[in-house]
């Protein structure tokens, strides 16, 4: 049965579209002296993934005057509200495009007013219910032939690539089958239509006439099958949907890299490209950030370095042939993946401009390469790392360590990292930490033991450091801005007692014992709980933004990002202490404009006047000093973007969380 016959397609090409375009066109004409319209054509601005807007109407002087231009509440897209809208919208020609809602519908809005112009909805039934990556995803992509054939491309919850007409929202009939390419087909492996574990939540990469698609799976903490679906990357023709190439992120027998798998590749899967992809249209190279193979913390079925796990792979745009690769983690056991787009930055090196690639990571290293050939800009050195003792596990003796720039957040856990607001709190933190192993970055997970340790204390963890939103880069100053969080976690593993749930011998446990195990009390501490009197185990800042000058490979500045949590401000043990802003842990990216660095906060806090909400903050690009903050009713969930339409600069950010359902907020300055 074709995919199309199982679903109903409903697009609403509203008459409102043309009606709404009319005043927009008028506004453009009336404001001929105003700054030109500026689009935001890809998830992170453009396919170099710099999250930079060349706009400066909103400045340090007027940031606090921002008002809400419009808000868009997607509660009724899908049968229930969504609370975690991770998308960054696009704006092309005065129209904003985004995915929204629990069904991952596509909406087109008037970028000046927020009015809905059309929506596209695909009901995939069970195919979506059983998909590994649900909700609205990271957004859509845009393609144009430059002659009026303009398309929106996105991947559905059920892993289908769809092409829509930007003006009407109707599927492009000549693309795939009536506008749809079933991504579970033609993947060099058999994939069942319903139950097999593959999907995608990031946006397709569109470069010239090629659309590149990765793959995501169920989170691999305790995977059901070690021989999971493999996450190959593919290029398709933007006009027809025809497959142009495939890149085997796990090489097949006879292909380059196969010999890095000591047991072959039949017993493993994953190695998907679930993060955003970037491309250089001049070099005609696509940069694939590959995650690790099956088993986020257990690698017993994938002994060996395992290419192209946790590697950046540069492939030819038209053929998918590998040009270069660099493995950032050999045989990963910490779920570092590569979580975000490689940032294609042009930077001065020894007095000469170099086409470089800067890769932020969960492990808090920024890896910087010459993107033409994959050679490190600053030496990356293989260094010995701690070995673990999980039975059957394989450990890489070394890992690559960049010599520059310095790590932008904590790596590993030692006694000096534990909370020390007061001597009493520090003493208690030391007592807690004694129950676990501690060590530097790459200290592997360990087996839970009632008489030994409850696992390994780790920082960063599987959610960073930095994570999927990635960073921002100012092409004028060559400064890269990255948000990261500092949060303790536990790398722990236990013998698997339930082969129905997972066919691994050991499974992830995060500091907790196998079910039914006796736990001998150890004072006030219980396995898995990493708070001290309700406070985080590690010293703040718990969230920070670092500015890295890529002309030198050094920090320009680093600040705490996010207001001190209420429970810390009001903690009885901290009464009378002056505590600097602590920052807050979250999953965020800043935006950089010609005038400011802008980033919303993670988590709610009590705001001035007792209101509950979060701030959208602005910082000085050169120093990190506060330059303004405006109120949002909920924290940032999708990274901010900016565009200019009708002579006005807009900032749009997705918010939500807790019991506040998802919302798009658009800010602009008041009209004179």
């Amino acid at each position: 049965m074709s995919a199309l016959s199982r679903r109903s397609l409903l697009s609403l090409p509203l008459f409102a579209y043309l009606w709404a375009k009319a005043p927009f066109a008028k506004a453009q004409g009336a404001a001929s002296a105003a700054p030109a319209n500026t689009d935001w054509t890809s998830y992170a601005g453009d396919i170099h993934c710099l999250r930079y807007a060349p706009l400066d109407q909103i400045t340090a002087q007027n940031f606090n005057d921002l008002e809400i231009a419009w808000r868009f509440k997607p509660d009724n897209f899908g049968v229930r509200p969504e609370f975690n809208l991770e998308a960054t919208p696009l704006v092309v020609g005065g129209v904003l495009y985004t995915t929204v809602g629990t069904r991952r519908d596509v909406a087109a809005l008037d970028a000046a007013s927020g009015e809905l112009l059309w929506m596209h909805r695909m009901d995939e039934g069970e195919r979506a219910v059983k998909a590994p990556r649900k909700l609205s995803g990271h957004g859509v992509s845009y393609w144009s032939d430059g002659k009026g054939d303009d398309r929106i491309l996105y991947v559905t919850v059920g892993y289908q690539l769809v092409a829509l007409n930007t003006k009407t929202g109707e599927p492009i009939k000549s693309f795939g089958t009536d506008g749809v390419v079933d991504l579970k087909l033609n993947d060099d492996q058999e994939i069942g239509p319903l139950n097999d574990d593959i999907g995608l939540h990031s946006t397709p990469l569109v470069c010239k006439d090629v659309v590149v698609i990765g793959a995501a799976h169920t989170v691999g903490t305790s995977p059901k099958h070690h021989a999971n679906v493999k996450g190959y990357a593919r290029g398709f023709d933007t006009r027809t949907g025809k497959r142009l190439w495939i890149f085997h992120t796990i090489p097949q027998k006879g292909e380059f890299g196969y010999d890095t798998w000591l047991d072959g590749v039949d017993q493993v899967g994953n190695a998907g490209v679930w993060a955003q992809i970037s491309a250089d249209p001049e070099l005609e190279m696509v940069y694939l950030p590959v995650e690790l193979p099956t088993g986020d913390y257990n690698g017993e079925y994938r002994r060996g370095a395992g290419l192209f796990g946790e590697s950046i792979v540069a492939v030819d745009l038209h053929t998918g042939v590998r040009k270069w690769h660099y493995q950032l983690v050999h045989h990963g056991l910490s779920d570092f993946d590569i979580p975000c787009a490689p940032m294609l930055v042009d930077i001065p090196v020894n007095g000469k401009m170099v086409k470089a690639l800067a890769q932020p990571t969960k492990q808090n290293f920024l890896y910087v390469f010459d993107r033409t050939n994959g050679k490190p800009i600053w030496p990356i050195v293989e260094k010995p790392v701690p070995k673990g003792d999980v039975p059957g596990e394989w450990y890489s003796p070394t890992q690559p360590f960049p010599s520059k720039p310095p790590a932008y957040d904590q790596q590993g856990v030692s006694e000096k990292d534990l909370i020390d607001f007061t001597p009493e709190l520090h003493a208690e933190a030391l007592e807690l930490a004694k129950n676990y192993r501690m060590g530097p970055l790459f200290t592997p997970p360990s087996v839970w033991s009632d008489t030994g340790t409850w696992g390994t204390l780790v920082c960063p963890n599987a959610t960073g450091g930095a994570n999927w939103p990635g960073g921002a880069f100012d092409p004028d100053s060559h400064i890269l801005y990255i948000y990261s969080k500092t949060e303790a976690d536990i790398g722990g593993t236990i013998p698997n007692a339930n082969k129905e749930k997972s066919d691994f011998d050991y499974v992830y446990s995060r500091g907790t014992p196998p079910p039914g195990t006796k736990v001998t009390p150890r004072g006030k501490f219980k396995p898995g709980q990493l708070t001290v009197d309700g406070l985080p185990l590690l010293r703040p800042p718990w969230g920070r933004i670092t500015a890295i000058d890529l002309s030198k490979g050094e920090f320009a500045w680093q600040i705490a990002h996010g207001e001190t949590p209420d429970e810390v401000k009001n903690h009885p043990a901290l009464k009378g202490l002056t505590i600097p802003r602590t920052g807050r842990p979250g999953v965020l990216s800043p935006l950089v404009t010609r005038s400011l660095v802008i980033c919303g906060e993670a988590g709610f806090a009590t705001q001035a006047g007792g209101k509950r909400g979060a701030l959208l903050r602005a910082y000085d690009k050169a120093t990190g000093a506060d330059r303004g903050a405006v109120y949002m009713p909920a924290p940032q969930t999708g990274s901010p973007m900016s565009y200019m339409v009708g002579g006005q600069q807009y900032l749009v950010v997705a918010i939500g969380g807790g019991n506040y359902s998802a919302e798009l907020l658009a800010f602009r300055l008041p009209k004179a």
């Binding site: 229930r80 609370f83 629990t102 219910v129 990556r133 649900k134 909700l135 989170v219 903490t221 979580p339 599987a462 959610t463 994570n467 999927w468 949060e487 976690d489 536990i490 446990s509 995060r510 500091g511 907790t512 079910p515 898995g528 709980q529 990493l530 708070t531 009197d533 309700g534 985080p536 920090f555 680093q558 600040i559 705490a560 207001e563 001190t564 949590p565 209420d566 429970e567 401000k569 009001n570 009885p572 002056t578 505590i579 600097p580 802003r581 807050r584 979250g586 993670a602 988590g603 709610f604 806090a605 009590t606 001035a608 007792g610 120093t623 990190g624 506060d626 969380g657 807790g658 019991n659």
Partner: protein, 143 residues
């Protein structure tokens, strides 16, 4: 490196104290007073392992696809909110492959398990399953 700014905490202390005061004045209770039973939290944890752990992590630590349900990021979403806010969010939107399937009792049990995992003490009585009773219980800061 930039110097982090200090803050003026007094108005915020008053605001949060005000919330607790308001809850008490209305005959409400706070989570640190023990608003669920151990048996209920154990039921909730069994359910959590089946229905929730694959996205939120086996001990609620959060994964790439779902936020943590413990520690500062949990409090960042629910501090000062009624228990009903958390229970209704669970009941109406979770789990993602069968939203709305849990019902009031299971949602209350899961709320109890989340409170337990955050270090809130157990009490003698169960967390009620009805929304109006849950509205009178405020999630305060765990100590």
């Amino acid at each position: 490196m930039n110097v982090m700014k200090s803050f003026v905490a007094a108005p915020l202390v008053l605001a949060v104290m005000g919330l607790a005061f308001a809850a008490a004045a209305q005959g409400g209770r706070v989570a640190t007073a023990g608003v669920y039973s151990k048996a209920q939290a154990d039921r909730g944890m069994t359910l959590f392992a089946d229905a929730c752990a694959r996205c939120h992590g086996s001990s609620m630590e959060g994964l790439d696809v779902a936020p943590p349900l413990t520690g500062p990021r949990f409090l960042g979403n629910y501090l000062g909110q009624p228990a009903a806010a958390l229970a209704s969010r669970i009941r109406t939107s979770m789990p993602l492959d069968m939203p709305g399937s849990l019902g009031q009792q299971a949602s209350a049990d899961l709320t109890a398990a989340i409170l337990a995992a955050n270090g809130y003490p157990a009490g003698d009585a169960e967390l009620p399953s009805g929304s109006s009773a849950q509205q009178a219980i405020t999630i305060d800061a765990v100590k």
